[in-house]
Structures are given as structure tokens and as C-alpha cells.
């Protein structure tokens, strides 16, 4: 993409006034979307290319990007960022760059970008057709998205030039049902760091649409969720987004530095001893996986909480240097338009020992959360989080009785983590479509086994909850 000589020239300019280090992130990317909405198919295609130059000085980031690959432009950009960083005039030292070869097996068996357009349309059509078979369906949207990003990253921090390719394929369906004026919707989707071959078997277009269809149908029979404090059992899999939101963000080191609720908690008990929380960027095929992070650090599996004790924050080179801790391979950027930040990858709670059926049986009265929808929000400084429970079941005398909808949950991250009193043996990790946002959008995976929290505040449109307890 850019030859070694030019890379060296540009980065020399960037650090010649004594910055700590500089990196160059070049990218050529294609984005493709096929949507059937309101029974009409349409496509969107984007080509994006550019080069971002970062200068780090005294732990501060200075960043700029351009859509031009011309030598004169890149040199100008490097000088601009260097001058903005206001560094002090010491001679910068530039090491010899070493190419680092990719060792991961190509995750794209069938390249999304080079696949014939019909092959992708067929996935969307299959999902759409199945979705319309839902009783009372009044509107259907099915959408396929992919991207392929060819990346070149050169950094004076580690003296490496890395070239690799990131990509994602996603398929989802939304079904709106209308039963005599009662409108509800069901959503389901999957995302993979891999090619079209992923959408087969249990991840086929039909299966994805079927799940959306079932969810829509169940919504029609659900009653308003009661409100009040009650034990909540979370179904396994994509509900792991709850831990991503309520705990994960507060353990990203830049937010720790700003005083998140997990600041100063290293080595301390922040959760029930049943909880071990992992952030893993190395699981093949998942949206949060990659071989190198966007500073060139190999991705890794990071233990964030081990048996209730906080073990590791997620770092970028800037945050790790400030506290003199090792890198965690979790510095990520949305594209060449952004400098890297500490981010989560695939985040999940490890399986426990309790049979998930027993968790429900041991709950006298409470809520079983099937689908917590979009995941919610967290205030990392107070630890308060909120999430909706789009669809759940009421638990009465240890059994799921009737479906409930329209609830939300409020809590404080650490308090909720400490209140976990049962962890199931059924860990499921999901590649959910959609992105994690923190000023930049990146793909992530989430997961969890069945988990019970002893008490959470549930807000619903229904009556006040009475008779809690286990």
C-alpha cells in the first residue's frame, strides 16, 4: 500500500521533534449492504481509503488523516501533526522496520467482497421470505452487511510493519407484527469475522429469520412486566451485553484513568466469587477477534475478573505506559479516521457449575430475562447501568409461567456483580450484529451462561411486584 522507504520518511518527520512515538495507519476498505425493506431490495456500496498519522507525546495523542496516498500530502500531514503536538525539539530516533507476517488462517473461506452480488442477495431474500411467514407480520426488514478492510500499520513504538485484513459479515431480520392493532417486533441477527460460508447450518438465513419470527410471536402474547425489586435470571448468550455495558467499559483503562467505578479496585473483590470475566480477541470467527490490535500488539485473552477479584484493565500503549503495565492487545480503531482507544473484544462470563434448569427451579418468584434488546447504557463514573428487558418470563414457584415485556433494569455495576448468586454451566458466546460505540464503532462479541442476580430494580408498565425472594 505504501512502500517501506516512504513509511520511514513520513514517520521520521512525525517524530523529528522528539515525540515519544508515532504510527501510520493506512487502509483500503469496501463496505457492502443489501437490504430488503418493505418488500424492496436495494444495495449500498462504499469505497474508503486513507492514511492516519498519530504522534504521541507525553501520553497525549495528536491525530490527523487524509484520503490521499500522495507522498507530498503524507509528508505535509506528518509535519502538521508533529507541529500540533508542540514537542520540544529533541531528535527523534527511528528504528529499522521489520515486517511481521500474519500467521492466522484466512478467516474468509468465501471472500465477502469478491462473492457475486447474487450470492449475498440470496441470503437476504431467504431470510425475508421466511420472515413474512410469521403470523400477523405487517412489515419485514432483512439486511446483510459486510466489509473488508486491508490495513497497513507501521509504528516506531515496536518498529513493526504489519499488513493484515479485517472483515465482518452480518445478517439480520426485523419482523413487525400487528394483531388487531397491537404492534410488536422481533429482531435477531448474527455477525462473523469470516466469509459467506458462516451463514449455513444453525446460522443459516432461515434459522436467523426463524428466531426473529419466534420472538415477534412471543411478544404478542406477553403481558406488561411488573415493577419493583426482584431476583432476575438472565438467559445465556447474547445477554452478555449486560456485562459488557455494566462492567467492561469501566475497566477500559482510559476510563479508569478518568475515575470510573473500577478505578483503584485492582486486586480487590468487585464481584461474587462465582464470577470470572474474560475479554478474548483470539476466538476464531468472532466479531471482536483479530490477530493484531490497531497498534500492532498481538491480540490476547485477558482475564478481567478472576473468581470475583479484579485482575486486569484493558490497555492501549498510552494507558499501559502511564501505569507501567503490560499491553493487552486491546487498542482498537473504527478506521483510519480514528486514533486507537482501549476497547473490548469478545467479552464473556465463564461457565459455572449449576445446571441452568436448577437456577430457575431455585427461584421462587422473579424474572427470567430472555432478550435484553440493545444492551443499554452505563455511566462509568457512578457505575449506574440501565438495560431494557424486551422479552422475559415471570418465574413463579420455580417455573416459567407467562411471558412479560417492556421492562427495564437499573443497577450499579459492582453491586449487581456481587449479588450474583448462581452461575450456570451453559456458556454461550454470540457474535451479535451491531457495534459497540465509544465515539468510534467497533464490532464485538459477548457471552454468558445462565446467571442469577439476587435482586435488581425492575421498572415495568405493569403492577408493583410483590412476593420476591428466592
Amino acid at each position: 500500500m505504501i512502500d517501506d522507504n516512504l513509511i520511514r520518511k513520513i514517520l521520521s518527520i512525525a517524530i523529528e521533534k522528539g515525540a515519544d512515538y508515532a504510527d501510520l495507519f493506512a487502509e483500503k476498505a469496501e463496505y457492502d449492504t443489501i437490504t430488503i425493506d418493505d418488500r424492496k431490495l436495494k444495495t449500498d456500496y462504499s469505497f474508503e481509503r486513507g492514511v492516519g498519522i498519530r504522534v504521541v507525546s507525553g501520553g497525549r495523542t495528536f491525530y490527523a488523516f487524509t484520503n490521499s496516498f500522495e507522498e507530498s500530502n503524507l509528508k505535509k500531514l506528518a509535519a502538521y501533526v508533529r507541529d500540533a503536538s508542540g514537542t520540544n525539539g529533541r531528535d527523534g530516533h527511528i528504528s529499522v522496520f521489520q515486517s511481521v507476517a500474519s500467521t492466522w488462517e484466512n478467516p474468509f473461506k468465501i471472500s465477502a467482497v469478491r462473492a457475486p452480488a447474487e450470492e449475498k442477495s440470496n441470503l437476504v431474500k431467504a431470510a425475508e421470505e421466511r420472515a413474512w411467514q410469521t403470523n400477523y407480520a405487517s412489515q419485514v426488514t432483512s439486511r446483510y452487511r459486510d466489509h473488508e478492510r486491508r490495513i497497513l500499520l507501521a509504528s516506531t513504538l515496536n518498529g513493526q510493519v504489519i499488513e493484515h485484513t479485517l472483515g465482518l459479515t452480518e445478517l439480520m431480520a426485523v419482523i413487525i407484527v400487528d394483531k388487531n392493532g397491537q404492534r410488536e417486533y422481533g429482531f435477531f441477527g448474527k455477525a462473523f469475522y469470516g466469509g459467506l460460508e458462516k451463514f449455513t447450518g444453525e446460522n443459516s438465513a432461515i434459522k436467523i429469520a426463524e428466531e426473529a419470527s419466534e420472538r415477534a410471536a412471543r411478544m404478542l402474547t406477553a403481558k406488561d412486566c411488573p415493577r419493583g425489586e426482584m431476583p432476575v435470571v438472565f438467559a445465556p448468550g447474547e445477554n452478555g451485553i449486560l456485562f459488557h455495558e455494566s462492567c467492561g467499559h469501566g475497566m477500559e483503562a482510559d476510563l479508569v484513568e478518568k475515575g470510573s467505578i473500577f478505578a483503584g479496585q485492582m486486586g480487590k473483590t468487585v464481584a461474587s466469587p462465582l464470577v470470572t470475566m474474560i475479554d478474548d480477541g483470539t476466538i476464531p470467527g468472532y466479531p471482536g477477534s483479530f490477530e493484531f490490535d490497531d497498534e500492532g500488539t498481538p491480540s490476547q485473552k485477558t482475564v478481567m475478573i478472576e473468581s470475583g477479584v479484579l485482575k486486569h484493565y484493558l490497555h492501549s500503549s498510552i494507558t499501559a505506559q502511564k501505569v507501567n503495565l503490560p499491553l493487552t492487545g486491546s487498542a482498537r480503531r473504527e478506521s483510519f479516521k480514528h486514533p486507537p482507544l482501549p476497547r473490548m473484544r469478545n467479552t464473556f462470563i465463564l461457565a459455572g457449575e449449576t445446571d441452568p434448569q436448577d437456577i430457575i427451579k431455585q427461584t421462587k418468584r422473579g424474572l427470567y430475562a430472555v432478550d435484553i434488546g440493545g444492551g443499554g447504557e452505563v455511566n462509568p463514573f457512578t457505575g449506574e447501568f440501565i438495560t431494557s428487558i424486551k422479552l422475559g418470563y415471570l418465574i413463579e414457584n420455580g417455573e416459567l409461567t407467562y411471558p412479560v415485556k417492556g421492562a427495564s433494569i437499573i443497577g450499579r455495576g459492582i453491586e449487581a456483580l456481587k449479588n450474583i448468586d448462581l452461575v450456570g454451566s451453559d456458556l454461550k458466546i454470540s457474535g451479535i450484529p451491531g457495534r459497540c460505540g465509544k465515539g468510534q464503532q467497533v464490532p464485538v462479541g459477548v457471552g454468558m451462561p445462565t446467571v442469577r442476580v439476587r435482586a435488581l430494580t425492575v421498572g415495568g408498565a405493569g403492577d408493583a411486584f410483590n412476593g420476591g425472594g428466592q
Partner: protein, 459 residues
């Protein structure tokens, strides 16, 4: 070649390669973002986004592609791919590109601040640091700044089409965003993290000078401090007041829902409700893309259509929607100038411009005085997950201040307000005269308003 010339050249190239009609939108945007941490810049980002989006029409099929490679020689590949993709589309008679309409002679030049491009970065950093200083100095219980961002942008865009549109527009914007964290002091004089409360201040303007760092910092500080000592709320049903900083969310939800596209596809709360009484007769809601000094004002929208005023809710009845050229054709009406693009790389879609709830006659104080016992909502979170976009049922995690005998008293946390959005709108029984413009994505004008009988979920 300037942007408009390039736009016209790309239109010609699309026609040469087989498009029936074509449109090019070019965005040339320079922006700066500064994040501050402990009085120092943590990150400074310079962003120059420059690229084009193409829409082509072939036999009722409307294709879209974009690129930021501005070399004409590279465009042919994009256009060829676009034409192949478009042939797969479903034909739809309502796919139309707008014809040229004469824009009214509104001059928004006063609202454009090109100096944003030449103000030295050091001065902008200073302004951002002043926001932090103001917040910390406002109250000694502000013990940290969770997030502080300054941003500005100067955008130029050009639109050209084979139907005669060939126009340019420009826009400037500057904003500050700050989260102040307040804590109570423990007996030993140390801040107690378990008491932490946050206050968010957001201010956007067209002109650099109109971003006042002191007002913004003080606002965030006061919002954080007023919640210190919050106790868990109890389950109840009571009257509530939404001040502008939270009423914003309710009006914004309506702004997002009155898109003709969602209504026509039966995805909106308002589908099939045109002409119906959807709110109390005190409620009037208007969208106006030509509003003088409006942050979202521009002569033309993202399809090149002149902007104007659209009445959405009149005396409680739903009387209008926001239309682009597709939905206007489908609804057999005229586009309202509400086409918008996030960037050159996204298709145009419907969005509000300056969207507001018309203020009433009451002062804010007399609105408060009218509540004997109730809740003043200071924070609502997670609205995008808390409101069901189809049914309008909501369950919104909130914080507030108790109102007793018209006075703001005890701060309350850990509550959810729930109900249905239509019931809420119908129960609006008082609107103050303190219209305030809030900008978090959309530009929304909202005065304080009172709602009777809302379910509050707590312990």
C-alpha cells in the same frame, strides 16, 4: 476542479456509463476534536472528510455508492459496480430524483463562521480547558471531570443532478460536551465514590464566540451537585415536570418518529394516525429548516430541495410529517426539505431540522408552583432501548428532584418512569415559556412542561 464542477462531471460519467438519471453529493468537511484530561489535551484529532455519494436511477431502480477517492479515473470502477448492483434492485415508481426548485432567497451567511478553520489549535485547547476550570471552580464537590470534548466543523457540500440541480451550501458548527462528577465528602474530608453523581453539559452553536466555556462548565457542575445525597425512589404515581434537559428526549423521540418513511412502512407510532388527536390540545410541534438563527437551518436539504416550515402537531392533532422526495411521491404530496445525510457515504434519509415544542405562557416558576407533590425529572437514560418504537410503551430509567409545594427538594435515583408515549402526550397539561434549544444529534427546541399521572417504579 471545485466541488460543484466535480459533482457535475460525475453525473455526466454516470449517464455515459448507462444510468438513466444521476445525482452527486460531495462533502468537504474539516473538523477538530479536542479531549481534555486534567487540564491537558488528552487527544487532538484533525479530521478532513472529503468524498462523494452517487445516486443513479435505472428503470425505477435507485442505486447508491460512495467513494473518497476523488480521482476521476478511479470513479469509473465505482460507477460500473453501482450499475451492476442497481440492476438487482426492485423497481419502484416512487424512486425519483427531485427536479430543480428555486430556493427562497434566505441568506444564512451570518450563521457561518469560517474563522473556525484559522483559529489556532492552542486557543481552542484553552477554551476547552476553561470549561473544565469553570466546572471545578463552580463547586468544590466537583472532584473530577469524567469527559470533556470540544469540537468544531466547517462543511461545504455540493449537489448536482441530471435533472438540473446544481447547488452548493455550507455550514459551521462548534460544540462543547462535559461530564462533571460530584461527590460528597466523608467525615475524614475524602470524597466518597459511592456518593458520585454526574452532570452533563452540552452546548452547540454556529459561531465560535457563542460557545461560552464558563456557562457550560457551571451548568454541568450544577446538574451534578443538585443530585448529591440522592436516595432510592419509591413506586408511586405522580405528576412530573420535564425541564428542557430531559424534555428534549421526549420531543426528540417524536422527531424521529414522524418520518414519512417510517409512517408509510407502518414502522412508526404514528402510522395510520394522521388527523388524529395524539396529544393534549396544548401541544403544538413544528419543524422549521429556515428558522432564523436555527442551528440546523440551511437554504437547501441534502437532495437540493429548499427548506421551510412544517406543522407536525397542531392543537394536539397530528397534521404533518417530514418528507423527502421518495416519500412525497409515494404520499402524493410535496417534499418538506427534510432530507439529510450523515456523510457522503450514506444514502440521504429523512431527519428533522429545527424541531420544537411551541412554548406556552407560563413562567417556569409558576409551572413548578402548580405542583403540590411530584417529580422534576433531571436525567433520563437509555431512551433508545427504553421506548418500544412500535407500541410507544416506555420504561425509562430516570433521576429527579422531588417537588413539594412547588419547591424542588430531595434528589431521587434508581427509578423508572413508565407508560405509553401517547398517554404521556395527552397528559401534558402545562407548558412554560422557557424554550431552550438542545443539541445531541438532532436540534430540538423544548420548554419545560408538566405531565399528570406518570407511573414511577422504584423499590
Amino acid at each position: 476542479m471545485n466541488n460543484l464542477d466535480l459533482a457535475n462531471r460525475l453525473v455526466d460519467r454516470c449517464l455515459d456509463l448507462g444510468a438513466g438519471d444521476a445525482e452527486t453529493y460531495i462533502l468537504d468537511s474539516e473538523s477538530t476534536e479536542i479531549q481534555i484530561l486534567n487540564g491537558q489535551p488528552e487527544a487532538v484529532n484533525f479530521r478532513h472528510r472529503n468524498g462523494y455519494g452517487l445516486r443513479i436511477l435505472i428503470d425505477g431502480r435507485m442505486g447508491f455508492a460512495s467513494s473518497n477517492n476523488l480521482e476521476l479515473s478511479a470513479a469509473d470502477n465505482i460507477i460500473k459496480k453501482l450499475i451492476t448492483n442497481t440492476q438487482q434492485h426492485t423497481a419502484d415508481d416512487h424512486n425519483v430524483l427531485p427536479e430543480m426548485r428555486k430556493a427562497p432567497a434566505i441568506d444564512f451567511a451570518e450563521q457561518f463562521d469560517e474563522s473556525l478553520k484559522s483559529i489556532p489549535i492552542s486557543e481552542k485547547i484553552e477554551k476547552a480547558v476553561d470549561i473544565e476550570k469553570a466546572a471545578r471552580e463552580a463547586d468544590q464537590r466537583i472532584i473530577q471531570i469524567g469527559w470533556l470534548q470540544y469540537g468544531d466543523s466547517v462543511d461545504y457540500y455540493a449537489i448536482a443532478s441530471s435533472l438540473g440541480i446544481s447547488d452548493e451550501a455550507r455550514r459551521s458548527n462548534v460544540y462543547g460536551y462535559v461530564v462533571a462528577v460530584a461527590m460528597e465528602m466523608s467525615n475524614g474530608g475524602q470524597p466518597n465514590p459511592a456518593s458520585a453523581q454526574t452532570g452533563t453539559g452540552i452546548k452547540a452553536a454556529n459561531d465560535y464566540i457563542d460557545l461560552d466555556p464558563h456557562k457550560l462548565g457551571e451548568k454541568a457542575a450544577s446538574f451534578a451537585v443538585r443530585m448529591l445525597g440522592a436516595t432510592d425512589g419509591e413506586t408511586a404515581e405522580s405528576g412530573v415536570i420535564f425541564p428542557p434537559e430531559t424534555g428534549y428526549s421526549i420531543i426528540d423521540l417524536i422527531a424521529e418518529t414522524v418520518s414519512a418513511d417510517l409512517v408509510q412502512k407502518k414502522k412508526s407510532l404514528f402510522s395510520g394516525r394522521i388527523g388524529e388527536q395524539v396529544a393534549s390540545n396544548k401541544v403544538n410541534i413544528i419543524d422549521n429548516g429556515s428558522l432564523k438563527d436555527g442551528l440546523a437551518s440551511a437554504a437547501i436539504d441534502a437532495e437540493g430541495i429548499p427548506t421551510g416550515e412544517t406543522k407536525i402537531i397542531k392543537d394536539g392533532a397530528l397534521v404533518g410529517l417530514l418528507y423527502d422526495s421518495y416519500t412525497a411521491h409515494r404520499g402524493n404530496t410535496r417534499p418538506t426539505g427534510n432530507s439529510s445525510r450523515l456523510s457522503y457515504s450514506s444514502r440521504p434519509s429523512i431527519a428533522p431540522t429545527n424541531f420544537y415544542l411551541k412554548p406556552g405562557n407560563l413562567s417556569r416558576d409558576s409551572l413548578l408552583a402548580s405542583v403540590d407533590r411530584g417529580l422534576y425529572i433531571t436525567e433520563v437514560s437509555g431512551l433508545h432501548t427504553a421506548v418500544d418504537p412500535i407500541t410507544g410503551n416506555f420504561s425509562i430509567p430516570s433521576k429527579g428532584l422531588m417537588i413539594s409545594s412547588g419547591e424542588l427538594t430531595q434528589p431521587i435515583t434508581n427509578i423508572t418512569i413508565s407508560g405509553n408515549i401517547f398517554d404521556l402526550l395527552k397528559n401534558i397539561d402545562g407548558i412554560a415559556n422557557d424554550l431552550t434549544w438542545e443539541t445531541r444529534g438532532n436540534v430540538i427546541g423544548v420548554p419545560s412542561f408538566r405531565v399528570k399521572g406518570i407511573k414511577i417504579g422504584g423499590k
